[in-house]
């Protein structure tokens, strides 16, 4: 009987596919082909992390070396430094940067004139449209030896050559650029919050702090939790572009992160296998983090993951 129902479902599926072939060919087709070529084939390419890859011999002809490259970088103090740099940059960035959009949204929600509110929003969102290169160019100008910041302090410090200055520069410029934009979703959630509740709270004589606790915070709480968890799950995937654009030969002690290291080792030095191994290691930590994070979300969200 089991075999027969199986037969039947197979038959039904075939009939369905024949009737709806357009869905598979026209609609799904392009996305599936791009995904297989550009996402799945490179996954196969990970094999070179376990080889002494020779571009002329290809994957099939290169010599297998097992975990040699993993042992090599895991025992290298330089690599540990870069791993630590990556973690510090994103963890500090998250801790400093996360609360600010929420505060901005709560403040915006207290602006009574919608015209003024709109103008402020226009300014707050603007930096999001500046490119990474221009942002880093501005940072370099403002902090240059003869720039306005040094002029203000009456000093001649070249901030971009000081390793200790790299993380604050990176994080503050990130807040400058992204906090306003990140506040949009909280602002949207707050504008959906019940005004009647707020009015009732006001009539009851609740002060602003009590109103925030009783009305506004509940309206955004879920979003705050989900956002925090999502960002926490992404701490290993911190981007290449900005760190690279803020690097100088002098601040590498804190500015070299895994993404920039993989680029330099792999594409500039041609150590394909070694840097693929490093990249794979990074991806695996990231996947573990994401799975852990998803488990936390499931717990908080009545069994529903992301």
């Amino acid at each position: 009987m089991n075999a027969k129902t199986k037969d039947n479902t197979l038959h039904n599926t075939l009939v369905y596919i024949r009737q709806h072939w357009q869905l598979y060919v026209f609609f799904l087709g392009p996305a599936l082909i791009l995904t297989i070529i550009f996402k799945y084939i490179p996954m196969g390419g990970i094999l070179i992390a376990f080889q002494k890859y020779n571009p002329f011999r290809g994957i099939l002809g290169s010599e297998w070396v097992g975990l040699k490259y993993f042992e090599q970088f895991l025992s290298s103090p330089d690599f540990m430094q870069y791993l630590l740099n990556t973690l510090k940059l994103s963890v500090y960035g998250l801790l400093w940067g996360f609360p600010i959009p929420i505060i901005l949204a709560l403040l915006l929600n207290r602006i009574t004139s919608s015209k003024i509110k709109q103008k402020i929003q226009l300014v707050l969102y603007m930096p999001n449209f500046i490119s990474v290169i221009v942002l880093c160019g501005m940072v370099r100008i403002l902090l240059s030896v003869t720039g306005p910041f040094n002029m203000f302090l009456g000093t001649n410090i070249n901030f971009l050559t000081i390793p200790a200055a790299f993380r604050p520069i990176y994080i503050i410029s990130g807040i400058w650029q992204g906090a306003g934009w990140a506040s949009i979703m909280y602002t949207a959630a707050l504008s959906n919050a019940s005004n009647e509740l707020k009015e009732a709270a006001q009539i009851d004589g609740a002060n602003i702090w009590q109103q925030i606790k009783a009305v506004e915070w509940p309206a955004i709480k879920d979003m705050v939790v989900i956002q925090f968890i999502l960002q926490a799950g992404n701490i290993m995937s911190i981007g290449f572009e900005k760190a690279y654009a803020l690097q100088s030969d002098m601040n590498l002690a804190s500015s070299e992160i895994i993404a920039t290291y993989v680029y330099k080792k792999g594409l500039l030095n041609g150590d394909y296998s070694y840097s693929t191994a490093v990249g794979l290691f990074n991806t695996i930590i990231n996947v573990i983090l994401l799975i852990a994070v998803n488990k936390v979300v499931e717990k908080l969200n009545d069994g529903q993951g992301l």
Partner: protein
Amino acid sequence: MEKTLTVKKSEFARASMGDKIFLLIGYILLGLFVVAIIGPVVYIVIASFMDPITLQNKGIVFDISKWTTTAYERVMSNSQIWIGFGNAVLYSVLFSVISVFITLLCAYPMSRDDFKGKKIFNTIFIITMFFGGGLIPTYLLISNMGLLDSMWAIILPNAFSVWNMIIARTYYKGVPNELREAADVDGANELVFFFKILLPVCTPLIAVLVLWQFVGMWNSYFDAMIYLNSAEKQPLQLVLRAILIQNEPDPGMIADMQSTAQRAQLAELLKYATIIVSSLPLIVMYPFFQKYFDSGIMIGSVKG
């Protein structure tokens, strides 16, 4: 909406003393943040009009009579900037159109309850959000495909966005079922239904996705840096990188200066004008899209 506004308007006046202080501190903080955003931008704008020597020695001077537009003339007459600009427009338009089209197409079957194989395809797509080959295997693939130094190397690999597909799928699910049923009665096939009935009611979704993808491509530089080598294929961000980050402007921009010191000063001045000229198009355009942001964010915050 009107009513709530009038209630809100009297809020500050009706507030108690403690609340007034609370609000005042809040407004000041918000004001400081706004000033912190505008400040650097204003500095760059003013500095871009100044004589480099004065700027270096005295900082900003508000004496408009001494301002010059030399930097802008040099930037605007530089061919590299214009080539980069043209390339950025080409890549960003192609990328956003192709990407959004493929994503919208794919989201349609994925939004249908009766679509057979949905679970398998969903898994295939979702895996790529968390796991990938990484930089080197992708680079080797592009290189083996003969796509090095071709614009398709920066357009195709990321053209399909799983995240955007999930957003579009969720959006489709919110489209009333009556539309679908009406189309079935007419005997419309899938393609006709999709283009004639579904897409026209998804304008906010399409606007938001196009905007995201366009801005994303316009502002990025990494893929172009590793895949495009020819000078005539460089997008704007790479031209900017040479001027702003590497301090290596196109020699033609500063070659007529006599001394090295003069050339260095001019190169500094060019940075300000370059920042303004290159950032202006998006910053001028973005307020026109602002009305889509709220709906876009709401779309984006809905989980698939």
